[in-house]
Amino acid sequence: MIEVRGLTKHYGDRVAVDDLSFTVRPGMVTGFLGPNGAGKSTTMRLILGLDAPTRGSVTVNGKPYREHSAPLHEVGAMLEARSVHTGRSAYHHLLALAQTSGIRRSRVDEVIDAVGLRAVARRRAGGFSLGMGQRLGIAAALLGDPRTVILDEPVNGLDPEGIRWIRTLLQSLAAEGRTVFVSSHLMSEMALTAQHLVVIGRGRLIADTGMQEFLARDARPVVRVRSTGPDALAALLRSPGVAVERAEGGALQVSGLTTDQIGRVAGEAGLVLLELTAQQASLEEVFMELTQDAVEYRASATTGAAR
């Protein structure tokens, strides 16, 4: 469980995180979305006590992170992949980390095997590919068998097999009752992995909602329709509040009408329908729409302040 309350962080004049409040619950994967520079990495550093908040508070499993006496067992974190000394082998990196909390050497070997780094464990981490670096970061996060797992962009640089591996891993960690908090800019990946979403833009909370509710937010559902007379159907459907667009293959993209309404109009005109599909907006589309607003709001607010 991660509880963020009124969290605010200024770096000089720049506001990186602005009055952020949300809760990450155990037992499911919570996705953390936002455009680049939205404050995702800053929020994660604040959660881990690496940076001190300007205002507000954040607790992990009931306490500020710094107050945990066995932190590796409470929170396993993979921050930016470059949180490893490039001159040290993967094995020694994990061993040094384990030793702080008295974790046995055999556990180091277990996590190395679990992430598939056995063959390169004795090589310098500086020579690792992006994907190998991600696996090392995940190994470090899992070392203490933590109740809460925090991963910053874990699928970055992974091949399709690696991405599938992460997805299964995150879901099984959540199924074991852990709190799993994962940031990503790959919206499609989040759609497959997360059950809950926290979306931020410019340091502010945009949405804290279940995945299904988030997708249902799309204000203008689109219906895709193909018929034997697309031109005639388009003419019949056009009216105030309804937009009809041509798509490839003679299909129409209609917004402002339900499938029922379109079906009736076509039936009354004697047109044969070949396809009639209500299209759910992709996570990416909803996300772009929401964060676009945040960016615009922010831009106009800054101009106003400058005057």
């Binding site: 550093r45 710094r66 066995a70 932190p71 470059r82 949180s83 490039t86 199924a175």
Partner: protein, 275 residues
């Protein structure tokens, strides 16, 4: 989090067993961790090997080029055999800097501080492990340099022995001086968090400051110089009493105050600043 294993067992990945032992972070654990970190970097191995080679090699070299029919007044065979200490301080001091700034440059510091959120044990353990390692390697090296140097000098009947008053103290002191320089580098690295800045500050304190002080009027220069880290710390390697220097142990003690101050300021900053 300890839900039944039925769901977990159903998942094919990860094949990672549970680990249910819970231990607190202890200073002993952090010391072990820092020892692992120290020994697993090539820069450590190279820098400390270089220090040992310089201590022994330069001492023997300087002793062997020493020519003279008779023992001149003010001739200090112990100090001659320990000349390498002056060069070795470069290797040890820069390594001290890199042990900390290397973590900041690579981002490793975030991993280190997340594992030990109270933070200060990381700094103390790093300093303790590095100090012990440096002393443990440099002391045999200064002993070897002394013995080798004296065996060269004794061919010209200029040598001395460890039993000679002050000789053993000088040999031990040379190794401890290097430890102080290493800690000064580590403290400056932790304070400045940047390799170039910390190495510059280290060389400034050790080498540039004495030159600057040397431009002052003679009396001032002499008075001030003996308090600077290098002059204070190397007083112990002189067997013949030097009226312009501090006493051997008080000088070395003062020399250790410089890293103590740097580490103290670094600790204060480490607690407060963002990582």
């Amino acid at each position: 989090m300890t839900t039944d294993t039925g769901t977990a067992a159903a998942a094919p990945v990860p094949a990672l067993p549970r680990y249910l032992v819970r231990q607190r972070v202890t200073l002993a654990g952090v010391l072990r961790s820092e020892w692992t970190k120290l020994r697993s970097l090539r820069s450590t191995v190279w820098s400390l090997s270089a220090a040992v080679v310089l201590i022994v090699g330069v001492g023997a070299l300087v002793a062997s080029v020493r020519r003279g029919p008779a023992r001149p007044t003010g001739f200090d065979p112990t100090a001659i055999s320990l000349t390498g200490v002056y060069l070795a301080q470069l290797a040890v001091g820069v390594l001290g800097v890199l042990l900390v700034t290397g973590e900041y440059a690579t981002g490793m510091i975030r991993t280190s501080l997340a594992a030990v959120p109270r933070r200060l044990p990381v700094l103390w353990a790093k300093a303790a492990v590095f100090a012990l390692t440096t002393t443990a390697l440099c002391l045999p090296a200064t002993v070897a340099a002394f013995l080798l140097g004296q065996s060269v000098l004794s061919a010209q009947h200029l040598g001395t022995t460890l039993g000679h008053p002050g000789a053993a103290r000088a040999v031990l002191g040379g190794a401890l001086f290097l430890t102080a320089v290493g800690l000064l580098g580590l403290g400056l690295g932790a304070l400045l968090r940047n390799t170039a800045g910390a190495v510059s500050a280290l060389f400034g304190l050790l080498f540039v400051l004495p030159i600057t002080v040397g431009f002052l009027p003679g009396d001032w220069s002499e008075q001030l110089n003996k308090y600077l880290p290098m002059a204070a710390g190397t007083a112990i390697t002189d067997v013949l009493p030097d009226p312009t220097a501090l006493g051997p142990w008080s000088g070395l003690g003062l020399c250790f105050l410089y890293p103590a101050a740097a580490l103290g300021l670094a600790a204060r900053q480490l607690r407060r600043r963002d990582a």
